[in-house]
């Protein structure tokens, strides 16, 4: 399917190719820039180009690929650093230097890398589509390879092999490869979805103790600039108790991505393996093309689902979803679609919901349990949480970590507002920790919330009568609340304190509450003694 470019407006290009389908991949111009069909009309097809179109001329050739935008899935994704179209950035750097130039085609997987394959099937055996052929070791993980189609195996490799050659050949001549292409906008199938069961240990006391995130759950982190969204996401990406981490830098800062890459290269996870070995990074910084930013979260979530389908716990972090929504808005407005609230297209909510619904706990096609959890940063303009992106997210997310500008200004990090934030999974997680850590977990949780809530109320009183006007009991409570804020909720991401195990978390809050109870008891004792003394003095008189 070939044709020519007929009109160009920024990254929106019209071509005169007939017979294309919606969301088909199209190569545009002499430099073969990648694009995607977004509108179809009889005489004119509109293509959203994922790269900078500067210098593109009308009349240049265009070609339909006949397939939609896909990602390549297979062993070797872990440790990879990709752009929004899954082009490996380190290879791109080798090819074209420090600056990203136009239209380079590079495969996301190294097809020549040697893997050691341990087959589970023998020649002559039959295999069903979706059944395991065997596995390779990818870092610390077992990476199973599945048959794409069923049949009788004629030949299957054992030991060393490369992805460029088939893993197995069926008797009808069909070749089974260790990699596959997947259309990014289609969720990967699973046998069934299950309710969330276990909390994901983030190592952040405030989250694990007060607002737990479940494995398979979705949390959003809205916050104005400078409230620490990125640091919180990166800290959790480093320490969270999960098998695979997929981190998407979606329209954010290049220097921060560089920092993340440098740090992840040096650090190791809780199991002592290099962090990068369990991580896939998708980096589409704010100055990289806008349309690729829109596709980057789909590219990333498809890779995340791929590891989920092997029965692993996968944590997906996006920074930030607002930049994705803005990309959607830019594309929509270039297409001259009717705008909805604040210029966002009216399908923002449904598009977002269908993306977020890709999270969850699933029973995989070969009967294992895998989970995909999401932690999504949102950057509301002017820190106004009533804007459409935050509100659309809230409708589908199970946990809400609201970052507070006032806390951040006082350098209280993580700046999670403990009054406004919530997690729907609180009771379920508390049951889990009750069993795993200490049976007083739910009780302490209530106590801690209570103290923080009472402090809020007392603060209002103090604003009228002054601290001096408060009673001793209340002042003790204010002290306890301050300790909870200072020594428990606050957590420095740049020291040893960055990760707190559930046991440590419990120990810390237990000690603070116990001190408070003791002080209260002492004060009551003293009061009783004073009363008794006074009472004793009064009686004879």
């Amino acid at each position: 399917m070939k044709g020519k470019v007929t009109a160009i407006f920024g990254a929106t290009v019209s071509v005169d190719i007939r017979g294309l389908q919606l969301y088909d991949r199209v190569y545009v111009g002499h430099n073969r820039l990648t694009g995607e069909v977004v509108h179809l009309e009889l005489e004119r097809t509109t293509v959203q180009v994922f790269e900078n179109t500067r210098g593109l001329a009308v009349g240049e050739p265009a070609e339909g690929a006949g397939v939609p935008l896909t990602v390549t899935l297979g062993p070797g994704l872990l440790g990879g650093i990709y752009d929004g179209l899954q082009r490996p950035l380190p290879q791109l750097q080798q090819q074209s230097g420090a600056f990203i130039r136009l239209g380079k085609e590079t495969g996301p997987l190294d097809l020549q890398r040697v893997w050691t394959f341990v087959p589970q099937k023998k020649a002559g055996e039959s295999i069903a589509a979706g059944e395991r052929l065997g596995q390779v070791a990818e870092g610390a993980l077992h990476h199973p390879l599945y048959a794409g189609v069923g049949g009788v195996i004629e030949r299957i490799v054992e030991g060393e092999f490369r992805l460029s050659e088939p893993v197995a050949v069926l008797d009808n001549g069909e070749q089974l490869f260790g990699w596959q292409d997947w259309a990014v906008r289609r969720p990967r199938p699973c046998r069934t979805k299950r309710p969330v069961q276990r909390p994901l240990i983030t190592g952040q006391r405030c989250i694990d103790f007060l607002f737990p995130l479940m494995k398979g759950g979705v949390a959003i982190i809205p916050g104005g600039f400078g409230t620490g969204k990125t640091v919180l996401e990166q800290t959790i990406a480093k320490f969270a108790d999960t098998d695979v981490v997929v981190y998407v830098g979606c329209g954010e800062r290049g220097n921060e991505m560089a920092g993340l890459l440098a740090e992840f290269g040096e650090l190791s996870d809780a199991r002592g393996r290099p962090l990068l070995e369990r991580t896939i990074v998708v980096a589409n910084t704010s100055n990289m093309p806008v349309a690729a930013r829109e596709s980057s979260i789909f590219t990333a979530v498809s890779m995340a689902e791929y590891y989920r389908d092997m029965g692993y716990d996968v944590l997906f972090l996006a920074d930030s979803l607002s930049r994705w929504a803005e990309a959607l808005r830019e594309i929509s407005s270039a297409l001259e679609e009717m705008p909805g609230e604040e210029g966002y297209p009216t399908y923002l909510g449904s598009r977002l919901a269908s993306f977020i619904e890709r999270a969850g706990v699933v029973e995989t096609r070969d009967g294992q349990t895998g989970s995909l959890s999401m932690l999504l940063a949102v950057s509301p303009p002017g820190a106004d949480f009533s804007e459409p992106v935050t509100q659309s997210c809230l409708r589908v997310a199970g946990a809400y970590y609201m970052l507070d500008t006032t806390l951040a200004h006082g350098r209280h990090f993580p700046a999670i507002n403990w009054v406004q934030s919530y997690s729907l999974a609180g009771p379920k997680a508390a049951d889990f920790f009750k069993e795993q850590v200490d049976e007083r977990w739910p009780e302490l949780q209530r106590r801690c919330r209570d103290i923080l809530q009472q402090e809020e109320a007392l603060r209002e009183v103090a604003e009228v009568v002054g601290m001096e006007g408060l009673q001793d009991r209340d002042r003790l409570l204010m002290k306890a609340a301050e300790r909870i804020r200072r020594d428990f909720l606050r957590q420095n991401s740049f020291t040893e304190d960055a990760f707190s195990s559930p046991e440590q978390t419990f120990g810390t809050i237990d000690a603070i509450v116990a001190d408070y109870q003791k002080a209260l008891a002492e004060r009551d004792e003293k009061e009783r003694a004073d009363d008794a003394e006074q009472g004793g003095g009064d009686a004879p008189g």
């Binding site: 007929t6 009109a7 160009i8 407006f9 920024g10 002499h30 430099n31 900078n52 179109t53 500067r54 210098g55 593109l56 001329a57 009308v58 009349g59 240049e60 380190p90 791109l92 750097q93 230097g97 420090a98 990203i100 600039f225 400078g226 830098g249 329209g251 800062r253 290049g254 220097n255 921060e256 991505m257 560089a258 920092g259 890459l261 440098a262 980096a283 910084t285 704010s286 100055n287 990289m288 803005e326 990309a327 808005r329 830019e330 407005s333 210029g343 950057s379 303009p381 002017g382 820190a383 106004d384 200004h409 006082g410 350098r411 103090a462 604003e463 009228v464 002054g466 601290m467 001096e468």
Partner: protein
């Protein structure tokens, strides 16, 4: 950007088929194979030449954006020449010590230099894996920056000012006093967007004290609006060349970003685009990012581009779209406060909303001093507490406060008077930290 030698037009094309002119925008009909971003020259009936760029192509109809005043253009006699190339900037170290207008024409009386090379003004994004993480402190001589919001080489740190606040004086102070780690000196790329002559004159005096260490691109308030969109791109292309081809440490000062964004809005409106918040176009975030993100350092290379954009917050409002979007892209911000200014404090930096995101790796035993982080955190916490207590004091009076709270109140006052305020005096990082430490000790905050 040229394609691989195929189907080039090979020649410039000239047309007299303008169908409409609207402000800086011109429609031309029956154009053969125009390129997006292609440069054009318009020649008015009186012989005036104007540069422009292709914005949009629909078949053979082309929309142009013209840099410069479109007075005197007409539909019949004006001709348009298409150059078959995208906008490029002339590059050479010979640009040092020179002043240009927003279209890269010399305004200092000397002739144009002969370029070594030409570079596309839109630049290309830096591959994130090729970036070196900025971590070397730039000592600005100001305690509030060095001590509490450390600037590092390759960072973009804007100054959020408000009408009537001394942002210019602060920038001039930074230009005068900044020291790089080691021996090196800065080269300054100064980009003035929509400044009044008076403001420009102030900076000119500062720049003249640093001969051959600056390049200036000057677009004054009365000059064409569209050049405000071009000047920063020219300046950054020069900065990248000096940094990454000649190994220099470049400090890019852009002032005032408000004028840039207003120019963006003006052009967007005449293109009849859908307006976003406060009339600014929906793509302003991406557009600003295409400037700010050009700051940085590269792995294995010595130069750097550090950016200090200045922007005046309209109505002192930090949630206005311009400071808001800027804050989301830059690595922190230095916020000036009217209240401190009224107290006679210079620089009037309000440290609470100020932030340097790259500070954590730029401080500590290797870079500054082992106790830097702790001093900074304690100062922040005490001052934040003091500021909160001020609000309480306003309601319940000093008597209603606890004794220890009264101490924190006093400390907040001393912090402003002794630490934030420094007038024209330069402090090195050791002095800054000692001062902070003294303050903490005096009020019993240190040791914690």
């Amino acid at each position: 950007m040229r394609s691989k030698g195929v189907a080039m037009r090979l020649a410039e094309h000239r047309y007299r088929s303008i169908s409409s002119i609207r402000g800086p925008l011109v429609f031309v009909e029956q154009v053969f194979q125009a390129r997006i971003g292609e440069t054009v020259t318009l020649i008015a009936p009186d012989g005036k030449r104007l540069a422009g760029e292709v914005l949009k192509i629909d078949g053979r109809q082309v929309l142009l954006q013209v840099f410069g005043e479109t007075h005197g253009l007409d539909l019949d006699k004006t001709s348009v020449t298409f150059h078959d190339a995208v906008k490029r900037a002339p590059l050479s170290t010979a640009c040092l010590g020179r002043m240009f207008n927003g279209s890269f024409e010399p305004i200092d009386g000397a002739p144009m230099f002969i370029p070594d090379r030409w570079g596309a003004v839109s630049g290309a994004p830096i591959n994130p894996v090729a970036r070196a993480y900025p971590s070397e402190i730039i000592e600005t001589g100001f305690a509030t920056i060095d001590g509490l919001n450390t600037l590092v080489r390759g960072q973009k740190l804007p100054i959020f000012s408000a009408a009537g606040l001394p942002a210019q004086e602060l920038v001039a102070g930074i230009l005068r006093n900044s020291r790089l780690p080691g021996e090196g000196a800065f080269v300054v790329v100064f980009i003035a967007l929509g400044l009044t002559y008076h403001e420009f004159n102030f900076f000119q005096q500062t720049l003249e004290q640093m001969p051959n260490r600056f390049v200036a691109f000057i677009n004054l308030a009365g000059e064409p609006v569209v050049e405000r969109l071009l000047a920063p791109r020219l300046g950054l292309t020069v900065a990248e060349d000096l940094a990454f081809n000649h190994g220099m440490d470049v400090l890019v000062v852009v002032t005032d970003m408000i004028n840039y964004c207003d120019a963006l809005r003006e052009v967007s409106t005449s293109r009849e685009e859908l307006p976003g918040r406060r009339g600014y176009p929906g793509y302003m975030y991406s557009d600003l990012a295409s400037l700010y993100e050009r700051a940085g350092r590269l792995l294995g290379q010595s130069g750097s581009v550090t950016m200090l954009p200045v922007l005046t917050m309209p109505e002192d409002d930090i949630t206005h779209p311009i400071p808001d979007l800027t804050g989301y892209i830059t690595e922190g911000q230095i916020v000036l406060s009217r209240e401190l200014q009224q107290k006679g404090i210079f620089p009037p930096v309000d440290v609470l909303p100020s932030l340097s995101r790259l500070m954590q790796h730029g401080i500590g035993a290797q870079q500054t001093r082992a106790d830097h982080r702790q001093i900074s955190n304690l100062l922040y916490q005490s001052y934040a507490k003091g500021r909160e207590l001020r609000k309480l004091e306003a309601v319940v009076g000093k008597e209603g406060l606890l004794k220890e709270d009264r101490v924190m109140l006093e400390m907040a006052d001393s912090f402003e008077a002794d630490f934030v305020h420094q007038g024209q005096q330069r402090r090195d990082i050791g002095q800054t930290l000692d001062l902070g430490l003294q303050l903490l000790k005096r009020y019993g905050v240190y040791p914690p």
